[in-house]
């Protein structure tokens, strides 16, 4: 009985739907043309095909992501028919990127720094730069471009960077009657300042040593002392990683921690150097530009200065850079290049406030190289002429594990030379 009724109703519904369909079909032809587009397929769909979607992957979040989205929006406005899809991979950046490259469906443009790992999946840019003078490649700091080369090829263009400088708390210096650091201070100046500025009763420290520092950051000290972790051709570590100069540079920090003029920070269950500096409990801290705003916000009266030097040896710097690259498997390489070009253009660079401008013209226009807070970063940039180890040897990751263990142990107060010899010995196998 119920079945019969529902069948009957279904028939009625079909009739009703047919009537309704008839009505709705008749409607668009009577109304204006725009609404009829939904009914017909050809013109609307062909319009849609003209919209090209360009995928852009970034590791940034929050405020920095917002800036990149704004840049993408500006690019869309200047290029009608282009939609830039900003994909925020956040801390899953590498996992997602590897998966996308593996699936041959990578984002067209992506943030990049690890050229040794990804260069095979990236589009070499030398030809683009040669063909398109509007990118004004000479306007970039050469030191930055150097970091975007691997195997002699350019795989990315710098979008933002930071070098490392010493942030110092002026108030603490003045309280302790220690002269403020200058551009040509030495490690001895530094050590004595650290000692004087440590007041253990007030839990105030002259400096903070990372108990598990990134060996990448340590390179500038090794370079400054005339050594390096690896030979310039990337083939030898013996005599470089375990040289007297390398050990000497690293030992400085170990000694600072040992004689308590520096606090070990950043390890498991240890305080963060940043927090200490913001709290005004830290007189000196080496860091990139990223923390500058938060220090200002914390109302710390601070200054910046280049790293101390070894007497008679030129200071050296290491660069942290955010670059942008094009995927080799991108289906819109020309458009990707246009976007990449826009992303590193003066206009876009001016929008990026979270790291430092990469174009000489922008720096000069904003007079950043004359700003006391920012000048040390650019001075260090000029000194950043050495190529970091990871760009010189494809097996650096493996070598670095041993080096890290050695460095960590050195920071815990062990003998540097002995540990570096052990690390070199353990790492020789990766060079063969």
């Amino acid at each position: 009985m119920k079945k019969v009724a529902s069948k009957w109703m279904a028939a009625g519904m079909a009739l009703l739907l047919a009537v309704a369909a008839g009505c709705s079909q008749a409607q668009p032809s009577g109304t204006d043309g725009t609404s009829s587009n939904t009914g017909t397929t050809t013109p609307a769909s062909s319009d849609k095909k003209e919209t090209v979607t360009l995928r852009f992957a970034t590791w940034d979040t929050d405020q920095m992501l917002k800036i990149q989205q704004d840049i993408a929006k500006q690019f869309e406005q200047k290029n009608p028919g282009v939609k830039v899809q900003v994909e925020a991979y956040a801390d899953g950046f590498d996992q997602k990127l590897v998966a996308a490259f593996g699936a041959k469906n990578p984002p067209d443009v992506m943030y990049m720094w690890d050229f040794p790992t990804y260069n095979a999946s990236l589009e070499p840019l030398d030809e683009y730069v040669k063909k398109d003078p509007s990118v004004a490649i000479d306007d970039f700091y050469q030191g930055l471009l150097n970091y975007n080369r691997f195997d002699g090829k350019l795989f990315g263009l710098p979008a933002g960077f930071s070098t490392r400088v010493v942030f110092y708390n002026k108030k603490l210096f003045n309280e302790a009657n220690v002269p403020l650091p200058t551009d040509n201070w030495t490690w001895d100046d530094f050590k004595s300042a650290a000692k004087q500025l440590t007041v253990r009763d007030k839990k105030q420290y002259g400096f903070a040593v990372r108990s598990e520092p990134d060996t990448y950051d340590l390179q500038q000290f090794v370079w400054s002392n005339g050594s390096s972790f690896i030979s310039p051709d990337g083939k030898a570590i013996e005599g470089y990683m375990n040289s007297k100069e390398t050990a000497e540079a690293l030992q400085i920090f170990s000694d600072l921690a040992k004689d308590k003029s520096a606090l070990l920070v950043g390890g498991k269950n240890q305080q963060s150097g940043n927090d200490l500096f913001k709290a005004g409990k830290l007189a000196m801290y080496d860091n990139g530009v990223w923390s500058l705003e938060s220090y200002k916000k914390a109302n710390v009266d601070f200054g910046t200065v280049v790293m101390p030097q070894f007497p008679g040896k030129p200071g050296k710097g290491v660069i942290a850079t955010s670059s942008v690259s094009i995927a080799k498997d991108s289906k819109n390489k020309e458009l990707a290049w246009e976007f990449l070009k826009f992303f590193v253009s003066s206009d876009a660079i001016k929008m990026r406030t979270s790291d430092l401008p990469v174009r000489i013209s922008v720096v000069q226009e904003k007079k950043l190289d004359q700003d006391p807070l920012y000048a040390p970063f650019y001075k260090t940039l000029e000194q950043s002429t050495d190529t970091p180890a990871f760009l010189l040897n494809p097996h650096w990751n493996e070598i670095n594990r041993n080096l890290s263990a050695a460095v960590n142990a050195i920071m815990m107060g062990q003998n540097a030379e002995e540990l570096l010899n052990k690390a070199v010995k353990d790492s020789q196998k990766f060079l063969k």
């Binding site: 519904m13 498991k268 050695a406 960590n408 690390a423």
Partner: protein
């Protein structure tokens, strides 16, 4: 008792209104109810399906997370219980090998991470931990759920959903609140010695996707989600108060991994809400349509019945004798044509009435004249008879004969009691008249008649032929010479009489005037022919009567046509009454 009828008896207006309303509303209700019934069924089904789908998604997703976490914990436990693989001698490494071993171990832990993993750690009783350096072990130990764990943990503990406070880098409560919630699992490390003794594996998964599913159920469907553990402990519950009802639609999804039970409760009204929207739309549409139908029906039927009423009023006026009244016609529809026909009919009636009254008038005049003629026919006849006898006695036979025929003619002429006489009787009178003419002129003319035997009994107005013959002798035959022919024939109910002479003929201008009724009677055309024609028209119909054709010098033909009528025997009256 007054019987109630669905349709009012007296007003077409009301009937039309009722009919149109019913015609509009019944299909509307039928189709509308069907549409409502079916669509709300579909909507409800869809709603229920999507609820079921999301609940299943939730179940699969949570189950997926739980089993992943379990697997990770199992895997790590297997690894750490093998002393040849893990050699951790000190919590905080200080030596080169110590750091290498710790890093290797932490890389092993990190290898279990996937995109949904927030963190994987092994936490020692002292608060030191192995794993990515993103948390603070001391903060972790201050977390209430961590403190609630028994000191001697014997089996896995599902923590449920919480905002982690032990991750470094969060400055204030506001930042903490924005933190993605995590789903946590704590498992005791099986290794019974060394640094890892009594340690716990902590696995935290990002629960953002799950909370999206929760909010889909909670915000989009107003459902109430409850997740309870095996022991009745509440793992998750939708915020806010929720009153459970018998009628709620409930999906219960048990989780395989750890016997949690997901219950999604959807208030029945919620499911019906979209159907209710359809219903209210439908009712609004129904009311609107009904009002529209009523309005249109009212306007339309008022126009029609208004016209009918006006026509009715016109007819009533015509009925009371106001024949000049005309129906107003402003359309070409059936009512318009009805009005036109009615107007034509009234016009015809007016014409007929006018004709009837004119005929009556003429009849009265004729009667009056007849009375005048009747003044003393007896005196005339008696006197003529006396003169006739005197003439015979004096031997003047010719005069006597003439008088005899004259009397016969006069008898025919003066017998006014009968207006219509048989044709043969009229012809007898004619013959008496011709006898007089023969006596007068001598036998110089000829008279022929045909068809009288067959048609003699048909009635003809009295005194119609004699004046025409008189005309012939008076105008056509100047010296009495000539031939006169009378022929009578009958066809299709009409009698046709032809009177022909071969006399002088009539001049055309006179011929035209002969039968023209518009001419004054006093004019010179002479009364004879016109009067004869009028007699036929009066007695019969206007279309009957005479036609005259004449050719100068060759003669005249008069054709008279009238309907065939016979004298009934009982109506026969003697003509010798006087």
């Amino acid at each position: 008792m007054k019987s109630w009828s669905l349709f009012p008896r007296r007003s077409i207006h009301a009937k039309l209104l009722a009919f149109m309303l019913i015609a509009a509303i019944i299909p509307l209700i039928t189709l509308g109810s069907m549409a409502y019934w079916k669509s709300s069924m579909v909507v409800r089904e869809q709603f229920s399906k999507s609820g079921e789908y999301i609940a299943t998604q939730l179940q699969i997703q949570i189950d997926n997370y739980l089993s992943q976490m379990r697997y990770m914990a199992y895997d790590i436990n297997t690894y750490v219980s093998d002393p040849t693989l893990v050699v951790i001698r000190e919590e905080q490494p200080k030596t080169y090998t110590g750091f290498l071993e710790q890093k290797n171990f932490e890389r092993y832990l990190g290898a279990h991470r996937n995109l949904d993993t927030k963190g994987i750690f092994i936490v020692t009783p002292s608060g030191y931990f192995f794993g990515e350096n993103v948390i603070n072990g001391q903060d972790l130990m201050r977390e209430s759920w961590w403190k609630a764990l028994p000191a001697k943990l014997d089996e896995e503990r599902w923590i449920g959903f919480y905002t982690p406070r032990h991750y470094v880098g969060f400055q204030d409560e506001a930042e903490l609140r924005n933190q993605e919630k995590v789903l946590g699992l704590v498992v005791p490390v099986l290794s019974g010695y060394g640094v890892l003794k009594d340690s716990r594996i902590l696995i935290e998964m990002k629960a953002g996707k799950l909370f999206q599913l929760f909010s889909q159920l909670e915000e989009d469907m107003s459902a109430h989600v409850t997740i309870t553990a095996k022991n009745g402990e509440l793992i998750y519950q939708t915020a806010g108060t929720f009153v459970q009802k018998e009628s709620d639609v409930v999906w219960n999804k048990p989780l395989e991994s750890n016997n949690w039970m997901i219950q999604v409760r959807l208030p029945y009204e919620q499911m019906n809400r979209s159907a209710e929207v359809i219903q209210s739309f439908f009712i609004a549409a129904l009311i609107l349509s009904a009002v529209l139908a009523l309005l249109l029906a009212y306007l339309f039927s008022r126009r029609i019945t208004g016209k009918i009423k006006r026509l009715q009023e016109t007819m009533r006026l015509v009925g009371t004798g106001e024949l000049q009244t005309r129906a107003e016609v402003d359309t070409e529809d059936e009512l318009g044509r009805l009005g036109v026909s009615f107007n034509q009919m009234v016009r015809r009636i007016q014409t007929l009435i006018a004709e009837v009254s004119r005929t009556e008038q003429l009849k009265k005049e004729a009667e009056l004249r007849a009375v005048h003629y009747q003044i003393n026919p007896h005196l005339l006849f008696n006197t003529l008879n006396s003169i006739q006898w005197k003439a015979r006695l004096s031997g003047a036979n010719e005069i006597g004969n003439m008088l005899y025929h004259l009397i016969k003619v006069l008898e025919g002429n003066l017998d006014i009691t009968q207006e219509l006489v048989p044709l043969d009787k009229e012809l007898q009178t004619v013959e008496h008249f011709l006898q007089i003419q023969e006596l007068r002129y001598g036998p110089v003319f000829q008279y022929e008649q045909t068809g009288v035997e067959a048609c003699g009994r048909y009635l003809i107005p009295r005194m119609t032929l004699q004046p025409l013959l008189e005309n012939i002798f008076f105008h056509a035959f100047e010296d009495g010479h000539g031939t006169i022919r009378i022929s009578v024939s009958e066809k299709e109910g009409l009698v046709t009489l032809l009177l022909q002479d071969d006399g002088a003929g009539i001049v055309p201008e006179r011929l035209a005037k002969l039968l023209d009724p518009d001419l004054e009677r006093s004019s010179k055309r002479g009364l004879g022919v016109y009067n004869v024609d009028q007699k036929f028209k009066l007695h019969f119909r206007m279309e009957h009567g005479m036609k005259i054709s004449s050719v100068r010098g060759e003669g005249t033909t008069i054709q008279i046509t009238w309907p065939k009528r016979e004298e009934l025997p009982d109506e026969h009256q003697g003509n010798d009454c006087g």
